[in-house]
Symmetry: C2
Subunit: 574 residues, 2 copies
């Protein structure tokens, strides 16, 4: 067919050709690295040649256990240029997950930060890591590892900068990232060159993150989290400057980097920015450290409205985006539509705090239990389904990709994994549609708001109750430390909500508190959303990734609730 | 592979879902049509169903002979949704060209504006139009035609709005446009869904035309010129408003539409905007008719600097873009890079008047006769080669696409055309690179400046002379009406320039004028760029599309120039 393939490399070629002197800056364990696209492309070339000399070829995977820095960014272009996949591994996962992920991906080379040697050593297992031919350590020190490490400088030494790259197609895989689902095995999501190309172009647009050559982009979101939300590729495509904040930046580091490097766009989870706000409150800054900063992209979880309001006071726009591993990741961004720019401030903040408007090129629908599209009334709830050129339509099938005869493919366990993966695929995909597992409302302006996870929503008499909404109402009470709400089986209604509450004060005198909590829920929601039971706990049990462990909580109810419900049943529920 | 196909339809689905009430406005022969995306999508559906009922199917072509209006815009989405190609035909081409184009494309349906019935009738030929099963006339009156016409309303009457569309792939063709080359047969350029998808995303970006939902976009560039530069698709993808200015808008119409419809972005060739400037000078406008207008995209030919300066005074940015039929069309846009925003005004205007910076996703190089890349010094000249996802890599091969057994495929003439087309392909494409035929310089900032057509550049002693540069120097003289410079064979230097000049005054006393013209060329360029001969003519001969007919001019020199050259030879030329 006509038209050249959509691949990543031309983004870099253009940046080098048009913006050779634009800066790439990284804070590392050993100080600040500062160079230009001109030198970057040479370092990418040297790394690509070193990888190839190790045997990395089209269809292989290169794993990374790295923070946000220059060497990691170099791998972002070096591996895909060879037709190999950049496989970013989250070093904060439990060792068991890392072990499974490496076994599933069959990485041939691993780049490991010296500071993450501990995570590597803990996860290491000769069988699971059988595919790994080389462990390259990034950093000044080469720590002791269970396998013989190669220092990065030694690894690339002697290699030239020109790469005899294969002619790639848009269908060639370029990336791989395992989704940290709260249940089941981690599932691999492959990114083809075409997916990353489309995602890059989409986030460059004004409907996306509106990235131009005059931007200086600093992803605080880790580069092991879905390609740092695609920012390293997009900033390169735009010819923008890059700043990588290195290992565990604290608020002072973040503010200093913004100030010193004239950052215009940064991105990370809300917690980071709440920390920065606290820091700024403690360290009033007459110099205007944020003076160049134009916008902060937040995602991963919903930002509290006060985050938007506080940064508005600094003249910085907080832009809320939604996405997931399966969507490369950005699927929606909450920009104000033309008609809303003149709305009053509270209304604008309310819209901006939502997950937003899906990007051009994507299609979405929100459907109820029977698969019917819900009305866009801002109240009806449905599971969000999404599809488009940068939305996965299946999971990585490690069996299919693994060279026949390799050790791992002969272990029954690996076969089992692939089987699991296919089963999960059936749940996650509906033809070309991704079932996001997110329960949303869609308002008349088309803004999506995430109200629950599909697994957590409570189905009471055929109507849905958002567990998150009820939790938030309960947690708004001053003496409640944390609260989780789960659906438990109920004879008449199918499910009814039960709240697990960790609160200050005496367990013996809870009657008044329960009344107050019931009242809080009733204030915002229908009577039948009020939990049937309030169970007081020392603390709410959590999963390895720090989320409420609702499977554990549901398990605490061996039987079902009895038939006595003290809330008004939903209208027309029978 | 994973990731859903890149097709056009989701751009429309999103616009309807998120911006149902955004306006689409068209000035037509019968007045102003004004509706919304909500109604637009129904009209697209009805047209698609009517086309399908006529037999239009995946792989077929739907031709249009139409101005810029709502019905034409409806065809932009209706034909591609069926997997058919929207084939826009330039009604201003010579009848013979239209005849060949229809025969080559084998259009099954033609949409023809009532006001263009004359162009249709003149081009019509039963054999060339044998593939055309239906001629649908757009407009209130149904004129007499050499074939039985169907009125548009009658054509779509009774059809539903829901389309049972085929599942398309990015490789499916969506568009077809014949390039109006100055030599040889028109060549068909096919646009796949993926090419148009990539082009759409690229022009949405800030490096492109930076189109957002708050824009109201009015393409004055005809919709038969390479999809109106892609603006109808991009405005839809952004959820922007649309304004279509209808048949032959004059400057008053253009200004009125901008004013009344709050247009923020408009586009067309420089001539249109020079006309608008003259109009504004004659009709000073205290109300600020251009108050909503943010930018004017110009292309097709280079804008004079005074155009940029004059619109700057109105607070409107003139954005110069470069492209061609083979590049879908936008390949470069002249934005100011970060470092240049603070440059002095003259320098900024000079940069903005250039063809600009290639868009993200594209690769380019400029090469000399031996295929070597030229230095980016703003002086060396080379032919521009470009490639990328929305750059054609071959021409439409009508033979391959035509159903076997159709009449046209059995005529020797059609076979000959396909043969020509393949020969031309060899010249136009170098692997995946498009040889643009444009001779450019590239300055150290990466801005491309078009200095000549490759066919017109003069190769003197192995060094290139830009015929356009010399022409411009000569035409700057007050008594010169027009001037064309061509290379003619020369024993020693290979080629030497000869100027054909149409000037005021007496032919008998040209000595002084020739001296003056020589002086003008010497002022800006090396001595050896001065033409060896100045031939005075009544007027310069032109091609059918109004360009200087340099083939004719070269033919006027039967032999070669003699060896006496009164200019200094280029350094190191031997």
């Amino acid at each position: 067919m006509t038209g050249h393939a959509q691949t990543l490399r031309p983004f870099l070629s253009r940046a080098v050709g048009l913006y050779p002197d634009r800066k790439i800056v990284a804070r590392t364990g050993e100080g600040v690295v500062r160079y230009t696209y001109n030198r970057y492309v040479d370092r990418v070339g040297r790394l690509a040649n070193a990888l190839r000399a190790t045997g990395v070829d089209r269809g292989d995977r290169v794993g990374t256990l790295c923070w946000n820095h220059d060497r990691h960014f170099e791998a972002y272009f070096a591996a895909p240029e060879l037709g190999a996949q950049l496989h970013t591994i989250n070093p904060l996962l439990p060792a068991e997950d890392i072990r499974r992920i490496v076994a599933s991906a069959a990485d041939r080379v691993l780049l490991v930060d010296a500071s993450l040697a501990g995570a590597f050593a803990e996860a290491y297992d000769p069988e699971a890591f059988a595919s790994v031919e080389r462990v390259v350590v990034v950093g000044a020190d080469t720590p002791d590892l269970p396998v013989e490490p190669t220092a990065y400088d030694e690894f690339v030494a002697g290699h030239g900068t020109d790469v005899d790259a294969p002619e790639l197609d848009g269908d060639d895989p370029a990336g791989l990232c395992y989704s940290s689902g709260t249940t089941g095995d981690p599932k691999g999501v492959e990114y083809t060159h075409r997916m990353l190309w489309g995602h890059t172009m989409a986030i460059l647009t004004p409907s996306g993150l509106d990235i131009a050559d005059h931007d200086v982009v600093m992803p605080v979101v880790p580069m092991f989290h879905i390609n740092a939300w695609g920012l390293p590729y997009a900033a390169t495509a735009a010819g923008a400057g890059h700043v990588y904040p290195g290992p565990s930046p604290d608020p002072q580091d973040v503010v200093d980097l913004i100030d010193r490097e004239n950052v215009t766009l940064t991105a990370g989870v809300p917690t980071v920015w709440l920390g920065v706000l606290d820091h700024l409150a403690d360290h009033p800054d007459p110099e205007g450290a944020l003076s160049t900063l134009d916008r902060i992209v937040v995602g991963g979880s919903a930002p509290p409205e006060r985050l938007l309001r506080a940064f508005d006071d600094y003249g910085v726009e907080v832009l809320h985006g939604w996405g997931m591993t399966e969507t490369s990741p950005v699927g929606a961004v909450s920009h104000l539509k033309p008609g809303l720019c003149d709305a009053d401030y509270d209304r604008r903040v309310e819209k901006r705090a939502k997950q937003g408007l899906v990007l051009p090129g994507l299609e979405f629908k929100a459907v109820d239990d029977s698969g019917e599209a819900i009305p866009h009334d801002g109240e009806s709830m449905g599971e969000l389904l999404i599809r488009g050129p940068w939305v996965a339509t299946k999971y990585f099938d490690s069996e299919r990709r693994r060279p026949s005869g390799s050790e791992a493919s002969e272990t029954p366990r690996a076969t089992g994994e692939a089987g699991d993966s296919r089963t999960q695929s059936d749940d996650a995909f509906d033809g070309s549609w991704l079932r996001t597992g997110d329960v949303v409302t869609v308002d008349p302006d088309g803004y999506i708001e995430l109200v629950d996870r599909a697994a957590d929503v409570i189905n009471s008499g055929g109507e849905w109750i958002s567990s998150q909404a009820v939790e938030n109402a309960i947690m708004g009470h001053g003496s409640v430390r944390e609260a989780a709400v789960v659906g438990v089986p109920h004879e008449r209604w199918g499910e009814r909500p039960v709240a697990f509450v960790a609160a200050d004060g005496d367990d013996e005198n809870r009657g008044g508190l329960v009344d107050a909590l019931r009242g809080r829920v009733r204030t915002g929601y229908p009577d039948w959303w009020v939990p049937d039971r309030f169970e007081f706990v020392e603390s709410v049990p959590k999963t390895a990734t720090g989320k409420f462990d609702k499977i554990d909580l549901r398990g605490r109810f061996e039987g079902s609730l009895d038939g006595t419900v003290d809330a008004t049943p939903p209208e027309g529920a029978e």
